[in-house]
Symmetry: C2
Subunit: 409 residues, 2 copies
């Protein structure tokens, strides 16, 4: 019997952009156009807000070349949002689905978005509205449960591995100036992103020398001891820290400040953890320190995107669509690592409620016992995700000439 | 008559590292090994400090492959320094030259280093010691006089053009979150680096929207008006600012702070201009703002290095050596632009005292009359320096579906 019911697909992007989330969109659309069972291919503008506001676009109207170029365009081409849904929003979502005959809903995002997708799926079932809801993992934070890793993470890791190494070369070059460098990465609650800076270390003495993750409370005394110890040995220190570091009371580290009322336009401003640590070091160790804080560019840098990550992002998008067509519902696509060397990864499926609102922290086994670096286990885990080896840099042998004069000064 | 006198070459790198200063070293050494009149090819470790301390290395002992790979290794392979010379240091430099038969001294650096080179050349002449001293322009700040531009600038510009564009895409994607982005670049006294972010603007509405250079005093009221105007039109603003912005009194803008004595490890910390502006905007316009501050990675990023810059850095190194061999002295190699489209550039020479201690600011003709962006003249000047066009990104056409429901909320 021939199906006559119109079946439209709606996809949406959520949360913080990444270098590869558009690659997932490309994967979805490439697969959707091959599916005779799909009529309209729609995108929501600015994520779930676009669904609520019925702000939808027809992706069949885009040039095929544009859609292909999405694979190399960072950020979220359809727009994203951070929007906390109210209880009555869910029924609105369903109304929009019904009005536009949405029978497949694909939602790319993190653990909040997976909760949204799960609740939509539940409500649809309760209301007997047939829709296949599939989540697509997307977060530089890499904190989703069950999946081996998250698309977006490999690229932010590659950026940070390269940037921390560059920052280290810079620090190494200038003698007696800026000898302590704080490199502040994203990652509010978990240290996955910060840990990735270790992938840039290509020599026991090279950067980064110390890494602090939010999985461990920050203890100033211990930190200062660590810094001094590296400084005494090498004369320089590169310290990679997570923006979400907290002290033993569970409070974020911040450069404290108070209003100095110079004029009406000078106002108090709280600096981040990097500024706090610069102050801590200069006041206690009397060493000049400086902070590099690439901020949002780390998550959308196409120049440093990982080829593995781009490919996997495409594949989870493609896979989400085919699973929806196969009748799967209330599931998220996962990445399942089959082997490490050579690296091989497949896609899998997990119930949305197993990932919704949950967060995966960097496991104890990946953190050294001094709480100031990662273990080899982490490096084995993360290395395949950043793709090609980092560009090769050289160091001079520096064969010294014999000194012929009395010492200087 | 055959010359029997040993003639050694000494080269040194000075000041902040760049992505391409090692390319200059490669150019020097490649040329030096072809010159039968040069015996030893020496490098000073950590710039002029290495000369003072007689800490010299023999570059003929390096593997040829290592020397070639320097072209793609950022930062300063020989080490650099920031060291203010005392009066009696100059005679020490000359002693070291004599002891090691240094007859050619090549010094890569900025306007301070050109002063050092000039004074060494003067003293050598006064003391009748024959040495050819040639300066090699090197500074991401692009503030050397006479030369059209400085090696290092094209690459830092490419980094910032890409990063500001990425930062803009990121800001554009997330609706109702971090809608104002401050992008803080290097450039203590001049706005060349900050101006280069304009090269990333590929659409009238795309980032950057506002650019503030230290060539103009920062006026908070005008700034807030500018920001509000863009925000009201687009709902987002990306503002590129120089770390060296000053107010009308000539004082650096800083996030003011006072000691809050929570515990002995919480100390006052002055934030930079980015933090100050985040505070200014949030307090006065009640809009959420965020700061990206790539810091030192902008000057040593090989991933974003400009091919034109790498090539020119090599060529000024090579040229400095051949000019020294030709008997030139007390000169700096310059870059002389012959035409813009297609871009063509040659090397020239200038007396060191014409560049020593002087600084070239962004000219008035390159800054718009509102003091919040650059003019097309700047774009024409800077575009050839960043090399290949920036990676191509696409925007979706976003053909809207007809709305079928009453409005939301």
């Amino acid at each position: 019997m021939r199906e006559t019911l119109t079946k439209n697909l709606l996809l949406a992007q959520s949360g913080g952009p990444t270098a590869v989330i558009n690659s997932s969109v490309c994967g979805i659309v490439d697969e959707a156009v091959r599916q005779p069972r799909i009529d309209g291919i729609y995108g929501a503008v600015n994520g779930i807000l676009g669904v609520l506001h019925e702000d939808l676009v027809d992706l069949r109207h885009e040039e095929p070349a544009t859609l292909q170029s999405l694979r190399r365009t960072p950020s979220a081409a359809l727009g994203s949002c951070r929007h906390k849904l109210r209880e009555d929003d869910y029924s609105r979502l369903l109304e929009v689905f019904k009005a536009h005959a949405i029978r497949f809903f694909l939602y790319a995002g993190g653990n909040d978005s997976m909760d949204t997708a799960h609740r939509v799926a539940q409500l649809a079932e309760e209301k007997k509205y047939a829709v296949q809801v599939i989540g697509i993992p997307k977060t530089v934070d890499n904190d989703l449960m069950v999946t081996d890793h998250c698309p977006g993470y490999g690229s932010v890791s590659r950026f940070n591995a390269i940037a921390a190494r560059d920052s280290g070369l810079d620090t190494e070059a200038i003698y007696t100036s800026d000898t302590v460098k704080i490199f502040e990465t994203m990652g509010r609650d978990t240290g996955w992103i910060t840990a990735s800076t270790a992938l840039g270390k290509d020599d026991p003495d090279s950067a980064p020398h110390l890494i602090y993750l939010p999985e461990r409370p920050f203890i100033p005394e211990r930190f200062l001891k660590d810094v001094k110890s590296v400084y005494d040995r090498l004369g320089r220190v590169v310290i990679c820290v997570c923006e979400g570091l907290k002290d033993e009371r569970g409070e974020f580290l911040r450069a404290s400040s108070k209003h100095i009322d110079i004029d009406k336009f000078r106002h108090p401003q709280l600096g981040g953890v990097g500024d706090y640590l610069v102050g801590l070091i200069s006041e206690n160790l009397k060493i000049k320190a400086r902070c590099d804080k690439p901020g949002t560019i780390q998550r959308v840098s196409m120049t440093c995107a990982s080829e593995v990550d781009l490919e996997e992002a495409y594949s989870v998008g493609q896979n989400a669509l085919s699973k929806a067509i196969d009748g799967e519902n209330d599931r998220m696509v996962t990445l399942v690592r089959k082997r490490n060397d050579p690296y091989e990864c497949e896609t899998g499926l997990v119930e949305l409620d197993k990932v919704a609102l949950k967060s995966k922290r960097v496991p104890d086994a990946f953190i050294n016992k001094e709480c100031n670096f990662v273990n080899d286990g982490f490096l084995e885990y993360a290395k395949p995700l950043i793709g090609e080896p980092l560009p090769h840099y050289v160091h001079l042998r520096k064969k010294r000439l014999e000194k012929l004069l009395p010492g200087y000064g």
